[in-house]
């Protein structure tokens, strides 16, 4: 039962409150991805789990035991530090195997693990180099290799692939999943790469300023964001947020334009008795056409961005910026376009609390069709 539980955890650095009253549980053997803006406290959480940072207030449980006072070495945690923390005076090989040697793991076992790690991280040619003679990405890989050979119960990774190229990152990620499937460690993984978050995590915890925003499966985080922050944070480009949307009698007033809400939404919203709403919709759920369609609204193309496999079309919708994703770009800058909104895919947020007001039942059904969960490779 290698779980982790935060109970009313507070963490201060001096006077700065970094984490304020954190409560959540990481299940044994899951791969939890920690997401959040820079400086929100991700590394701090990892460091508290590792025991490198003391918990200012509250309780931290691991294996259902309170560990506030257990030293780091006794927690059986492996960790990839954000800035690597390699031993500068040891070679790559020594860096990777040092911990095992001290633990008196048999030499052939050490060699086996070393080879396996060096293999998937392509480190073999650098065994005898010192960290100072490596490139940034190579150093990061050594850091990753060092903690994978440890086979610990808990495995904390602080942006372990941020300095690797896309291809290597994919293969490393796949290898990490293989390792996880084999050893079923409890993994906590910090990343800024959304695709990594979506594909790697069994659950995602989204933090902002030390406060947990949402903790759910990747599908739910993406498709059913709990609040505006989540909707805006997840997705690249992020969800479009139209504030100042007025609801009256089934009609949404967006700036000077208005659209008719579908019936199930109308019922749902009316029951909630609100008329000041925030509308959220993902770029890929906006369809553009050159000619008006029933229920579409006018917008102007500001510019478009080639993203390789598709284009991000930046729009001006009633003075608000919005982005749509299109497979090909047939729009000229400044052109007027018509935006069609898929009613199934929109979110409404409370203007004050910024929380999602929820979904009518038949949307939930449809969304769940989408979230046909991927099985592990």
């Amino acid at each position: 039962m290698a779980n982790i539980r935060f109970e009313n955890v507070r963490k201060l650095y001096g006077d700065h409150v970094i984490i304020d009253n954190l409560n959540f549980e990481i299940h044994s053997g899951e791969r939890l991805v920690l997401l959040g803006p820079s400086g929100c406290g991700k590394s701090t959480i990892l460091r508290m789990i590792a025991g490198l940072e003391n918990v200012t207030e509250g309780h931290l449980y691991m294996r259902n035991e309170r560990v506030n006072d257990i030293p780091p070495g006794k927690r059986n945690v492996g960790m990839v530090f954000q800035n690597y923390a390699l031993y500068p005076h040891m070679t790559v090989k020594e860096n990777i195997t040092y911990g095992l040697k001290v633990k008196k793991v048999p030499t052939n076992e050490i060699e086996k693990r070393l080879d396996a790690a060096a293999d998937f991280l392509q480190l073999k040619p650098y065994y005898d180099r010192k960290p100072s003679e490596l490139s940034g990405g190579q150093r990061q890989r050594v850091a990753l290799a060092r903690s994978t050979v440890k086979n610990s119960d808990y495995f904390l990774l602080d942006e372990p692939l941020s300095n690797l190229d896309a291809q290597l990152r994919i293969s490393a990620r796949t290898a990490l999943m293989d390792i996880h499937n084999q050893y079923k460690q409890t993994m906590v993984y910090v990343t800024h790469d959304q695709i990594e978050a979506m594909t790697f995590g069994t659950r995602i915890a989204l933090l902002n300023k030390g406060v947990l925003q949402m903790l759910d499966t990747p599908e739910n985080v993406y498709h059913r964001p709990a609040n505006i922050f989540t909707a805006k944070f997840i997705g690249n480009p992020p969800a479009n947020i139209l504030e100042n949307v007025e609801y009256t009698n089934g009609i949404l007033q967006i700036g000077k334009q208005s659209i008719q809400l579908s019936d199930y939404w109308k019922n749902y919203v009316e029951k909630r008795d609100r008329n000041q709403l925030v509308l959220g919709i993902r770029p890929e759920h906006l369809q553009l056409s050159k000619t008006p369609i029933e229920g579409s609204i006018r917008a102007k193309v500001k510019h478009s961005e080639n993203q390789g496999s598709n284009f991000a079309i930046h729009l001006d919708v009633e003075g608000v910026n919005a982005i749509a994703i299109e497979a090909s770009n047939v729009f000229k800058d400044g052109e007027e376009v018509f935006v069609n909104i898929t009613m199934d895919q929109i979110h409404f947020f409370d203007k004050e609390t910024e929380n999602n007001i929820g979904y009518p039942e038949n949307i939930i059904l449809k969304k769940s069709q989408l979230s046909n969960r991927r099985t592990n490779p």
Partner: protein, 296 residues
């Protein structure tokens, strides 16, 4: 690495010249002069110097006392290395990483005796450690023990004199090593802690190598200045006795020069001592330096 500095030699000269001038004038030149004197039989004031070739060297090398002093010197080095290098290293490590409170108190308290001269330290040692009427002896007597007659006992006298030197030097070595250890990136040590590496291995495998550039300094200074510091307590407490049992290379060359006025042999002795030290330095560069971790 950068190569551009090669061109601006005048800056190099500017920065180095004060040290070079002063050291040449007050250390290098006297050394060369001493080398010159080592080939003469002279006492500095006689009107003529007698050239004696290598006689002074053979004198020194055939004198059994030289070897006695050499062995003493070896023991001084061993004891001083333990007390002034190994122990402060451990203490600095422990204070930095294992002790949480009173850090500043300990730092100051360890450093405190460094402010006192060795002459005073030696006088104090003579009194406090007087085996008949010193305070320690009185305390020992009251519980039925006695203090060994250390100043007349071969071996023990070296230990006690080393302790006096340690009393003064320890704090400086400690604080310098502490500064080096506290400069080590915390996360590297944390990484080791996570792996449940025992503290002594963290010290040996991580902290010592990563602070080794300062460590080398302390190592060498412990040997070199340690031996020079021994001079004061020896002079004050034992004058090299009993029967040269507390003398070392430095004291002996002083003794030859200023007690016996044998300038030539003293010069030869000093030159041989210097040669030995340079050999040590070479060995250091050979064996230790390549394992020292430098950032650049």
């Amino acid at each position: 690495m950068l190569v551009y500095f090669k061109k601006i030699q005048w800056k190099t000269i500017l920065l180095l010249s004060p040290s070079i001038v002063i050291l040449s004038l007050f250390v290098l030149w006297p050394t060369i002069y001493t080398l010159y004197l080592s080939f003469f039989d002279w006492n500095m004031i006689a009107p003529t110097k007698n050239f004696v070739g290598l006689a002074n060297y053979t004198d020194v090398l055939t004198n059994p006392n030289t070897y006695k002093v050499l062995v003493n010197t070896f023991w001084y080095i061993v004891i001083l290395l333990i007390l002034n290098f190994v122990v402060p290293y451990i203490f600095a490590f422990v204070l930095h990483l294992l002790i949480r409170n009173f850090k500043n108190f300990f730092k100051s308290a360890f450093f405190l005796p460094s402010f006192i001269s060795l002459v005073v330290g030696s006088i104090l040692a003579t009194w406090i450690l007087n085996p008949i009427s010193g305070p320690l002896a009185r305390i020992a007597q009251s519980i039925g023990l006695s203090i060994p007659n250390w100043s007349q006992t071969q071996g023990l006298v070296i230990v006690v004199i080393s302790l006096v030197v340690t009393w003064k030097v320890f704090g400086y070595n400690f604080i310098t090593l502490y500064a080096a250890i506290s400069g080590i990136s915390n996360e590297v040590i944390e990484a080791a802690k996570l792996d449940n590496i025992p503290s002594w291995r963290i010290l040996k495998d991580i902290v010592m190598p990563m602070s080794s550039s300062t460590g080398v300094y302390i190592l060498i200074m412990t040997i070199v200045t340690g031996l020079q510091y021994v001079y004061s307590p020896v002079k004050v407490i034992t004058q090299g006795g009993p029967d040269s049992a507390s003398s070392n290379l430095i004291y002996q060359s002083y003794h030859l020069a200023f007690d016996i006025y044998s300038t030539g042999t003293s010069a030869a002795f000093s030159i041989l001592t210097l040669g030995l030290f340079v050999l040590l330095l070479f060995l250091e560069f050979w064996f230790v330096e390549r394992r020292v971790h430098y950032e650049n």
